[in-house]
Subunit: 481 residues, 2 copies
Amino acid sequence: MLKISVNIDKNSKETIYLQIYKNIKRQILNGDAKKGDKLPSIRQVAIKLDINQNTVIQSYKMLEEKGYIKKISGKGCFVNSISEFRVEDKEMPLIESFKYGQFSDENIINFYNGTPHPSCFPIKKYNSLVNEILKKYGGDIFQYQSVQGVDSLRELLAEEFEKEDIFVKKESIQITSGTQQALDIIIKLFAKKIKPTVALSDPTYPNALNIFKGWCNIKSLDIKNDGWDMDEFEKLLKEERIDFVYETVNFQNPTGVTWSLEKRKKLLELSEKYNFYIVEDDSFSDFYYGSEKPKTLKSLDQTGKERVIYIRTYSKILMPGIGLAAMIVPEKLVQNILLIKYGLDTTTSGLNQKILEKFISRGYLEEHLSKLRKEFKEKQILSIEMLEKIPNLEIMHKPNGGFFIWIKLSENIDGEKFYEKSKEKGVALLPGAVFYNDKRDVCKIRLSFISPSLEEIKIGMEILKELLLSSVVKDSKTSRD
Amino acid sequence: MLKISVNIDKNSKETIYLQIYKNIKRQILNGDAKKGDKLPSIRQVAIKLDINQNTVIQSYKMLEEKGYIKKISGKGCFVNSISEFRVEDKEMPLIESFKYGQFSDENIINFYNGTPHPSCFPIKKYNSLVNEILKKYGGDIFQYQSVQGVDSLRELLAEEFEKEDIFVKKESIQITSGTQQALDIIIKLFAKKIKPTVALSDPTYPNALNIFKGWCNIKSLDIKNDGWDMDEFEKLLKEERIDFVYETVNFQNPTGVTWSLEKRKKLLELSEKYNFYIVEDDSFSDFYYGSEKPKTLKSLDQTGKERVIYIRTYSKILMPGIGLAAMIVPEKLVQNILLIKYGLDTTTSGLNQKILEKFISRGYLEEHLSKLRKEFKEKQILSIEMLEKIPNLEIMHKPNGGFFIWIKLSENIDGEKFYEKSKEKGVALLPGAVFYNDKRDVCKIRLSFISPSLEEIKIGMEILKELLLSSVVKDSKTSRD
């Protein structure tokens, strides 16, 4: 006999399909229906409740979409395991894990931060610039600014970009209130009648995934030590229309990978051949620990057939609260992007734009960055050195810049468990799963080395080592799917 | 002989074409090369410098792109006039009409502003609060904040809302980076598989139209002196699924209309009956010039079946550059909205949130507002008084608050022409057409009375009067479409 029975109230104002959905969901959540339990067939329910089969189909479809049940061809519908259907509930801890600043428990060793520690922020300079700018501009600085961004800032940025072999007019620079807004603009640019398709790395920056999901079809490509497998990508391009690529070619998050010149060129070549744009999220180029700043993809995109939409955030170089990014926009997209930006918030903070301008023109930014680079380089070297002594893990890629080290745990170590246990032990990091589109468990973790002190890195690594050697994080399952 | 000669340094690390570009650019900018001066031919330069002609072509192309030089077929390349290469992006006229603050030509009488004049902004208080807060919180204030908004601010707002009969927990308050972001969140909330349908006033706030367009089906309803014709609206509801209503029930922009209590109640009743949400954009309640602050729609929405998503912006009460709004969100939407907000910019400026908190808790905001109210009331009274003496126009509605007076011109006066002519005469206002979904010519104009001084109002009105009496704005067409 079936354990699950479906009841509805025909007098209720709620639609019937929703009642069925909620009724079954409740049975699953309160444990009355357990993993593997079979649901009554669509026909059975329709007959029992004297309703149309389509209504039942609709309810079951929704249960399946939310991950509560699984349809097995020829067999019927079955309740999923908790790990599968708590997708909704899983979103909150996911968010929690990204509220970087929220975890400011001072006792925790911080291997999770995606931005430098607040103690690095150039607060004094910011403060004195606020005073100076308010004195000079008064209320005008709080008025709506030009939609494209403060003119003098864009002019300065155009000159700065020239130093990096990006030749751009200030008219092609669009200031946004951060990378996320830039990505939102891009979605709105491409999402017309049908969902656009974006190709991106697997793993990738979770916030980009979060933004694209729901508005784009996502095609994920494995990222190797020097970029994608370009044959694999071209195969995809032959099969599917790709509207744009999203990628960070220098010190990618979370892998730290930097694309080879050859693959960059190939990517640009393909973008012309298959007519797609490339969104270059350049969050980490400034954090190079070798002798030279790596080139951007945009600097190669000087053919006149502009294919790269370039984004540079100032959240990481200065501080998140500044809420600023600069986009370099292909000429033919300038007007569209301007209109979209106008709809989003009219203008980005004039005060912060002026502050950024002064930070750059007075050399504060370069000074600040070289301080950070020196500090982070030391931390990266120490981290890698210590990690290499820890058994049961493999450094997937040794980057020469960026914030992160991407680590694979031994097969028998459960990533989720490891994440939980290290948190208990006072070490915060991020489980690899959050960087994948399908949230699969990947036995991987991301270590961010920029926030802890050298001393804390040492202690933290010792804790991780102990954990990895102990049995508490080992997986007793013999196989995993 | 040519005045321009090109020099490069072959030992420089900079690419040659960039050197050529910069060399010539410098000669133009410092005035050594003047308008009309001929550049050496590509061949000449290539031979002189012993480099490839393509390199020179590249440099010249870039100079041309940046507007420094002009290529004249068969003649060669010539230096452009300053006005050409310093040309500011001529943004679309549409955008221009909304860049309220951009028209800060001090000689113009400003009847177009949608926000108070920058001279009203409480800059000194802002500045001293920045100093105080940075001293207290240091870098932490520039970290990512809680996605919902700074806790202490939301707590305070919950208390403040209680004073206006809105009973809300801080958990239901979502801080956003302005009204536009709040509207963007709402679109994302409703836009799932199919385009949602929004019902709104005709005329309405153009930026809302701009944001909704493309993402929603828009149903416009005529706005009477006390709100919509509710029978007409119910008829629409019977024919079409409406997902949400967007409206400002107090001192609507541009009409200044305040909804009657009866119609508010009917709107709420219908929202339950036909299961739609109401987005209340409460931009103007604080600007009442009668004895009492008008109630919000949200304050009536206390049935437990919450239907109102409430938005209060602080752009108008404080200043646009603060980029802050508070949403009150029905409980069942809180999580979804949080996730959407997270995707948009993670968090709103912590510094500005803290500043708003202090403005409220120390009574600065109330003080500031009562000053503005007193000033605007006087301006409104004078404006209406003067308008009543002008022939060929009709004040559509005499509001007792807000920023605007909505005016109908005589049938034979062309709205667009009137707008152009008054601009020429030094009076800036907005043509009615921009407030309509279909941009039809409506022989209407919106006058904003908050920015000009009393003296300027008098002068401006005299100019408008003269114009309306003259024939230059009259329409010679016998019929209009």
